[in-house]
Amino acid sequence: MRPALILLLVLGSDPFQLPAPAPITVSAAVSLTDALTAAAGEYAGGGRGAIRFNFAASNVLARQIVNGAPVDLFISADEAQMDVVGQAGLIQEGSRVDLLSNQLAVVVPNDRPRTFGSIKDLADPAFRRIAIGDPAAVPAGVYAKQYLEKEGLWQAVASRIVPAGSVRAALTAAESGAVDAAIVYRTDARVALKATVAWVVPTDRGPRIVYPAAIVKASAHLTETQRFLDFLRGASAARVFERAGFTVIPTAPR
């Protein structure tokens, strides 16, 4: 009798009880951490429901989804990782859109600030270790390698590359002074506290960086997720993204 009563009390006062509507789970590229959290704050502030985020390198997120992780919305930092999920047949038909664009930037620890005249400065022997996302799959690393190859610099710096698990890990390596430079997104450089920008890759020289978003087919909250995705493509979210340094892609669904 007694234990049953206590159990009832405990269950009845569950502090983690979920409010209606149920929160949707969004797996998003780690470079979106700050901007998406701010956007979701506005969304939830308007009483439209809570968002749970899972931030990591897009390749990690894609693998989680392919292996059955219960995710409602996936926002990748490149098309390749979205294609991984798409080819597994896990994307809700017609929900994929190109949401945002970004640029690459070279950052250096802020106790050794530098400004590049061109990207060729990266070949300077003073840069003994250069962190980028793991070019085997982490989008920021894939982009960085593409860019360095296009500039004919990859061979010169390949032996100095420190592959990081995500773009934010590369940024952290530069902030701690463990590496002499890191190639990250311009938006990451903006939130850096202990690293400064040495070079922003011009849009006409750098790779085309696209953040696609798509609803995961297995989602149990299709309507709510579509509502959040629509919000992300709306004007108030656009202001948040632009403030963070992203370029909003205004296109029709593909």
Partner: protein, 220 residues
């Protein structure tokens, strides 16, 4: 891609280096804890065991803060031209810190089991503490010290959390078995990951089998 056996060899070499690094300090601390009463003894005891209980990633972060160019020790080392973070030295240090508690706890139990009368008798006969340690305490506690070293080595072989933070995952430079398996899995290179898993199984099997054989031979 670096060969699987090269990664295995690198990992074993680093773990062996870590064991050599932790042995003198570990044995001394174990002996002090077993035999001496000194101020701050319980603090030392707790500090040494900390890496056993803390998340390895937290230990790695502390090491990074300490050893990076901007850290307290790292700044000094940099002026001496010594680089630790993101080099094989960081791998060895991370492994040694993570293995140390196992060595100290096991060796300490061994020193405690040595009959202290032998040590006292030697002291009354005029032997200095260092001679007592090397001719009586250490030889009698040797099986436990060896067992502790094997445990520490085994822990070092599998170290992941602290290593990836302070040494990173640089192919051919700091990529150990555990870190390589993680990196390959993360980047979708499953075939390479599985190959390394098989290599780890072989190494673990050989290590355990020879450790058991050693114990059997001792018992016989």
């Amino acid at each position: 891609m670096m060969g699987a056996w090269q990664i295995a060899w690198f990992t074993v070499a680093c773990a062996a280096g870590a064991t050599i690094l932790m042995l003198p300090a570990g044995v001394l601390i174990a002996w002090l804890l077993a035999r001496r009463n000194f101020p701050g003894r319980s603090i030392v005891e707790t500090l040494v065991s900390l890496p056993l209980v803390m998340p390895p990633v937290a230990t790695g972060l502390l090491l990074l803060v300490l050893l990076s160019r901007r850290g307290a020790l790292g700044g000094m080392l940099e002026r001496l031209g010594i680089e630790i973070v993101f080099t094989w030295k960081a791998v060895v240090i991370a492994m040694a810190i993570m293995g140390l508690p196992l060595l100290v706890r096991t060796a300490r139990a061994g020193f405690e089991q040595v009959n202290s009368r032998y040590e006292r008798v030697a002291a009354t006969l005029g032997a200095p503490p260092s001679r007592i340690f090397f001719t009586i305490s250490l030889p009698l506690a040797w099986p436990s010290v060896l067992a502790g070293a094997v445990l520490g080595f085994a822990r070092a072989l599998g170290e992941f959390g602290a290593t990836i933070i302070v040494a990173g995952s640089i192919p051919g430079e700091t990529r150990t078995l555990a870190v390589a398996i993680y990196s390959y899995t993360e980047t979708g290179q499953d075939a390479q990951a599985i190959r390394l898993v098989l290599v780890s199984v072989v190494i673990a099997f050989v290590a355990l089998w020879s450790a058991n054989r050693l114990v059997e031979r001792r018992a016989a």
